[in-house]
Symmetry: C2
Subunit: 443 residues, 2 copies
């Protein structure tokens, strides 16, 4: 993994980076010594190196059991319990679903779409399916609602005894409704550590079990994260520490008016990693009426969409480009005798060669147009590199959040809509709020 | 279709809307009388009312032929030739691909991903497939590259004679490489009108043929657009004209520091409409170093992602919520005797009732947090309503762009990356540029 800042540094005044580089060291030390805000949620910092073989083997064995029994595995979760595993699986799965003998992995509990749930239940009708229920509390509305519907359906289809072996719960070690259900019903469980927040949870069983279920190598994923944990630790000086460099660069750009960070990829396989990254940075930093707004594009697709805005709109943006050095498969562009499309100058080239020139051409065009460019390169899309990707952005996020002066590990704003929703739905315990909100709405 | 501005108007000073309302009338008249910038690209303005039954019947008959022969239909196109048909098809298709006897519709030519194309070719191997090639010039790199690969593969699989009946070209009426290929090979063709740009093309054969191929009702789609064409015309005063109201409101918010518009939906079916909308507004307005930055979220999914930022980040955003009044299917939330998840207060309700309270609760929370809210409601997700949706946002875009003072119908910035890419790839005709760019890069 490599980071290149040279096309971004030129956009900030001289000296800026020297000051910010020093700040990254202090911020990184706060993550290490646990003296910063939100220090009860730092379990992710040494998670890769502390993950035991025993845990990985237990996850793999559980995945193997589900894989042997189920045609479809439904992952019920929201936020980090959805975006983390989905990002990894979408990157590694076949684009059009030709995943050999692997079960189909689908997602639920991340929305309240009635049509979505109806379509899902049609898919599952008559199929053998398993459920991975991921919820710390077991009462998150979206996930609990989907889980009740799916559990009811599964028990009806295969009976309660068989359903027990097709349901796994990933939840709190002791508290909460999901833990209680699992104990009563006798489900296999895994623990979400107390000190790891949802958006930092992909390297816990939350991500690892769904990823193993899809047939991907979780040990290689963890190995990539371990290597990145070493490469970004406090003992690694700024000059060699990509997480510090990324955090410094984005804060420098923000200070000088670049309010929107656009994550761009040239490989549609990593599309969902941008969704994961938006949660990680948006939820960690978006507080106290500040923070970079994270957005994303798939290129070259969106060069024919948001490309115009990026090239010529308000000069308030910068790009972070995820560059994948090598494709996994091979397509050579064929020669055509007639050459009516005029593309014979590409004949004999790999498609990726064309893509790389699109990438370089775009970088030059956008930088010329006033858009700073951070380039982050990974060797290829595989478990090892994705493990690096995950930990790199997590570490960068912790450092960046501390530099911005927020608590990167809470999410107070997420409660606001829930409180209103519960009041509107007359949830027991919300009687006062129900009265108040109905008065406000005049109903 | 309804628009509600009351939760946005309160964020702009009194009198602002009166001034802007008057401007919308002038801008709307420019669209009608063709006296504004980019007036050679106004063919979309009366496209719905001018679309003939004969054209719709021809498209339907062509779709029926492809549907009868092909298991998979590949739509090759980029920009509006991709996002338009995909948005409609994703909204109307089954979420998990259970589309009965309809062929599977997939997309190509919108990226240069080697793995993507390799995966696509694996999917098509041994299947009967058809190709819809959409390109005005026939030389747009992404689409031409995919088309050459797919055409080669198809001719190899079924022979040149049979392939001829499985390929349809949508292209310029007379000029360009795609037209020439179609004439030489004898493909069925449809015309992209000269005066309709790509991002406004979904109601031409560009969108209609792929939509008909997926089994959706293109006549109902056009009828919805026709009704919206009437409802947003120059003869409809501001008070009753939703396109004018939307254009006025977003320009007012932009003038007062709201730099980012977030399109939010509570129904994952319309996810791709936000992608279509981003192209429409981003490419039409993002020029001269100005314009609102269009972004999007799927809710409640992303309330557990970007929700924190929206609630508490920089107060530089507003939301445009797409509200779907009624789901198409029905799921009742079941009662559970044990009620360990505490959700029995929802038992007996439709899932959509819960979703609607999430929507209302979110609106109240975000407005309280300082985020102006424009609400645009559609009765349901069907062809008729989507036709309204499309034309509403097109008309709103033309009006809004003129109010902003840009030419909403060009896209000069899209050329920049192409020029560099061709130079880097040594495309014939780019010899000077190749020399210059290689010198710049020191290679």
């Amino acid at each position: 993994m490599k980071i290149c800042l040279k096309n971004a540094i030129s956009f900030v005044p001289e000296g800026t980076m020297t000051t910010l580089a020093a700040q990254t060291q202090a911020a990184n030390e706060l993550l290490e010594n646990g003296q910063g805000a939100g220090n009860d949620f730092l379990g992710w910092v040494h998670l890769p190196s502390e993950t035991t073989e025993a845990l990985l083997n237990d996850i793999q064995a559980t995945a193997d059991k589900l894989r042997a029994k189920a045609q479809i595995i439904v992952v019920a979760g929201i936020g980090g319990s959805y975006l983390g595993p989905r990002a990894v699986n979408e990157a590694l799965d076949h684009t059009f679903g030709l995943n050999g003998n692997n079960p189909k992995v689908v997602y639920a509990g991340n929305n309240i779409g009635e049509d979505y749930l109806a379509d899902l239940m049609e898919l599952l009708e008559g199929k053998t399916f398993a459920i991975i229920n991921i919820s710390k509390s077991g009462t998150t509305t979206e996930t609990a609602l989907a889980f009740r519907l799916l559990k009811t359906m599964l028990e009806k289809q295969v009976g309660k005894a068989e359903a027990k072996d097709l349901i796994v719960c990933i939840t709190d070690k002791a508290k909460g409704a999901a833990r209680k259900v699992a104990e009563i019903e006798g489900y296999k469980t895994f623990v979400i550590p107390d000190n790891v927040g949802g958006r930092f949870s992909v390297l816990t069983p939350v991500g690892l079990l769904p990823i193993a279920c899809a047939g991907h190598d979780i040990k290689a994923l963890i190995q990539g994260a371990r290597d990145m944990e070493k490469a970004t630790g406090v003992e690694v000086a700024y000059e060699n520490n990509p997480a510090c460099q990324y955090a410094a660069m984005r804060n420098a750009l923000y200070q000088f008016g670049k309010k929107i960070e656009i994550m761009a990829n040239f490989n549609p396989k990593v599309h969902y990693f941008a969704e994961w990254w938006k949660q990680l940075y948006g939820e960690s930093e978006g507080k106290d009426h500040k923070a970079i707004f994270p957005a994303s594009v798939d290129l070259t697709t969106d060069l024919h969409s948001m490309g115009q805005w990026i090239q010529d709109g308000e000069r308030s943006i910068f790009e972070t480009v995820i560059s994948i050095e090598n494709p996994n498969k091979k397509v050579i562009f064929p020669k055509d005798e007639q050459n009516l499309d005029g593309l014979n100058f590409l004949a004999g080239k790999r498609v990726d060669e064309v893509n790389k020139m699109a990438e370089l051409g775009t970088q030059l065009a956008h930088v010329d147009g006033g858009v700073p460019n951070i380039k982050i390169s990974f060797e290829k899309v595989d478990e090892y590199n994705l493990g690096q990707f995950i930990y790199f952005f997590e570490r960068g996020c912790g450092i960046s959040g501390y530099m911005l002066g927020v608590n990167p590990f809470n999410q107070p704003g997420v409660e606001a809509y829930k409180k209103n929703m519960f009041a509107l739905l007359d949830k027991p315990g919300y009687e006062e709020e129900s009265k108040a909100i109905k008065m406000r709405l005049g109903v």
